[in-house]
């Protein structure tokens, strides 16, 4: 019976989607790499010259934004772990029958468009707005105090927008812990903090790891939060890339920066994976 058909089946199934990813993911990346080594301008056109200098110039010129983005990404990720872990922990262990309800409530805001949500924060955080306005008129804050335009606003926005991507993986990891394992630890003379440290934390670590993977990259490369909530002193590399592409039409520099950003992030991610000793990055990420 159709042995050859059976062997071919997976390839036939993968073909359309795989072709799509090849055409619109792999090849564009190659095109971008090629474009980053070209020279010229948008009016007279670009030609391939293998001009590596573009990378050097781009990184030197925009090192501030590049470093800032990585710092914002890292701070966001750390804050996310701190904010998300207790929530995931409480829902996983105390949520009881209401677990799905709590998760649903956590996800609820994300039914609103990303852009709209972020803009909504602008309304809330604005200098004379519903948060600062009353505090200022009550004299608690000085008139010139502001949140918008600061790093705090940008990082808060990032934390806000990526929270579910940290809560869910940690929750899934914690939820899978057999409560009897914790009981066994208590039975074997571990006090609650020790049981937490020696049993729960190690078992939750894969979730944290997945969460970091899912938040660090998008947070570092984000440009919407900084554009909406930040100011020129919080400019992130994403904004620079976006503006090089979509305002200046300076494709080689933009491509070089994109590639640099991706390389830095991917190296970071894999180094992190190595450091944590997690071999199968993909499995964790795929969860």
């Amino acid at each position: 019976m159709g042995r050859s058909r059976r062997v071919l089946a997976p390839y036939l199934l993968i073909l359309p989607g795989g072709l799509w990813l090849l055409l619109f993911f792999v090849i564009p990346m190659v095109t971008m790499l090629s474009l980053s080594l070209q020279q010229g301008d948008i009016v007279s056109g670009y030609a391939f010259t293998g001009h590596w200098q573009t990378y050097v110039d781009a990184v030197v010129n925009y090192r501030t934004q590049l470093v800032r983005s990585l710092i914002y990404g890292a701070v966001t990720t750390i804050v996310l772990i701190v904010v998300a872990f207790p929530v995931a922990y409480w829902i996983a262990f105390y949520g009881g029958r209401r677990k799905p309800t709590y998760l649903f409530l956590l996800l609820l805001p994300f039914f609103v468009s990303f852009v709209l949500r972020t803009i909504s924060w602008r309304y809330i955080l604005t200098d004379e707005g519903m948060l600062l306005g009353p505090l200022k008129s009550a004299g608690i804050l000085p008139e010139s105090f502001n949140i918008l335009g600061t790093s705090v606003a940008v990082i808060s926005g990032l934390v806000y927008n990526f929270l579910p991507f940290m809560v869910l993986p940690i929750y899934v990891a914690l939820e899978r812990i057999d409560p009897r394992v914790v009981e066994a630890a208590r039975d074997l003379y571990a006090d609650p903090p020790t049981a937490f440290r020696k049993v729960i934390l190690p078992l939750a670590l894969p979730g944290v790891f997945a969460g970091v993977l899912m938040t660090f990259v998008p947070a570092s490369s984000d440009y919407v939060n900084s554009a909406v909530l930040g100011s020129s002193s919080t400019t992130m590399i994403g904004q620079v890339i976006q503006s090089q592409y979509l305002t200046s039409s300076n494709y080689p520099t933009a491509s070089a920066l994109s590639f640099t950003l991706m390389a830095v992030l991917l190296i970071g991610v894999f180094a992190y994976a190595r450091a944590l000793g997690t071999e199968d990055v993909m499995k964790v990420a795929a969860r």
């Binding site: 993911f25 971008m32 929530v87 805001p109 993977l213 976006q242």
Partner: protein
């Protein structure tokens, strides 16, 4: 998202009683604070949909009105942007649903040479910055001299959605009892009938939640669309463009309606997929 809602309800209380009274309560309050923080901007958005603002700038509270709900489609361009967003999202859900299901099914069902490469590319699409994906697509289209528009947006959205659908479907296929398919063959069904009558209906919930995910990713996407839209405007792009002069209240109204629609779908899906108790 729906995946999470499908989590079975298991009443498990793990922590010891003592910490339940102390740490548990503090964490309970903390969780509600976080939920409140998350929900605040949504409430503000909904609230300002009822703002009786006299002009086109919707920024200070002027009083309650329902008039914007009556005039929700008064701005042609906004309406058109929303329609484009919906069309792109539906096309994305359907095509990415089909292509992603193919990949997910193949990865879950067969062992074959090259599956590692497919996994790697999927991982790459899911972990690459959206910005870089959008930018690289732009360079491709520019290099090929392809005009940008709804078609290129859809192409891009399908591209980044495929992997998510595939992952969701693969997870389901991996738990699929192979003997069910054999049973169908045994009862006289050929491969085609077996797939459509048996396998597909069983993995259907996963395909559906994959498609919903693709729909949600597409309708919410700003970054990739921004690079691939050309002269076409989607809902998020319109908002982005309009925000520099102030958002008209219709945006809040549409945002609210989309929000309610999403919530409704999620609730219905979670109720329908709730496992019924077995008889014995």
């Amino acid at each position: 998202m729906t995946q999470v809602l499908e989590e079975e309800e298991t009443a498990v209380v793990a922590a010891p009683r003592r910490s339940r009274l102390t740490g548990g309560r503090a964490l309970h309050i903390y969780t509600w604070i976080v939920i409140g923080w998350l929900t605040l901007p949504v409430l503000v958005m909904i609230l300002f949909g009822f703002n009786d603002t006299p002009g086109r700038y919707n920024q200070t509270w002027e009083g309650f009105t329902l008039k914007w709900y009556g005039q929700v489609f008064a701005l042609d361009e906004l309406t058109k942007a929303l329609v484009i967003s919906l069309l792109v999202a539906v096309a994305t859900a359907v095509v990415a649903g089909a292509l992603g299901t193919g990949i997910g099914y193949a990865l879950g069902r067969y062992r074959f040479r090259g599956s590692g490469t497919v996994n790697l590319i999927m991982f790459a699409t899911m972990s690459s910055p959206e910005l870089v994906m959008g930018a690289s697509l732009l360079t491709l289209f520019v290099s090929l001299g392809v005009g940008l528009g709804a078609v290129t947006i859809t192409i891009a959205h399908i591209m980044f959605s495929i992997s998510f659908v595939a992952v969701v479907v693969r997870a389901r296929v991996l738990t699929l009892d192979r003997s069910v398919e054999e049973a169908a063959a045994d009862l006289g069904a050929n491969a085609w009938t077996t797939f459509w009558r048996i396998t597909f209906p069983i993995i259907m919930p996963a395909v559906m939640s994959g498609m919903l995910l693709a729909f949600a990713l597409s309708i919410d996407d700003f970054v990739v669309s921004n690079f691939t839209a050309g002269t076409t405007t989607t809902f998020p792009l319109w908002i982005w463009g309009a925000t520099r002069v102030g958002l008209p209240p219709q945006v809040n109204v549409m945002g609210t309606l989309i929000f309610l629609g999403g919530v409704l779908i999620a609730v219905v899906t979670s109720i329908r997929s709730r496992p019924r108790r077995p008889a014995a």
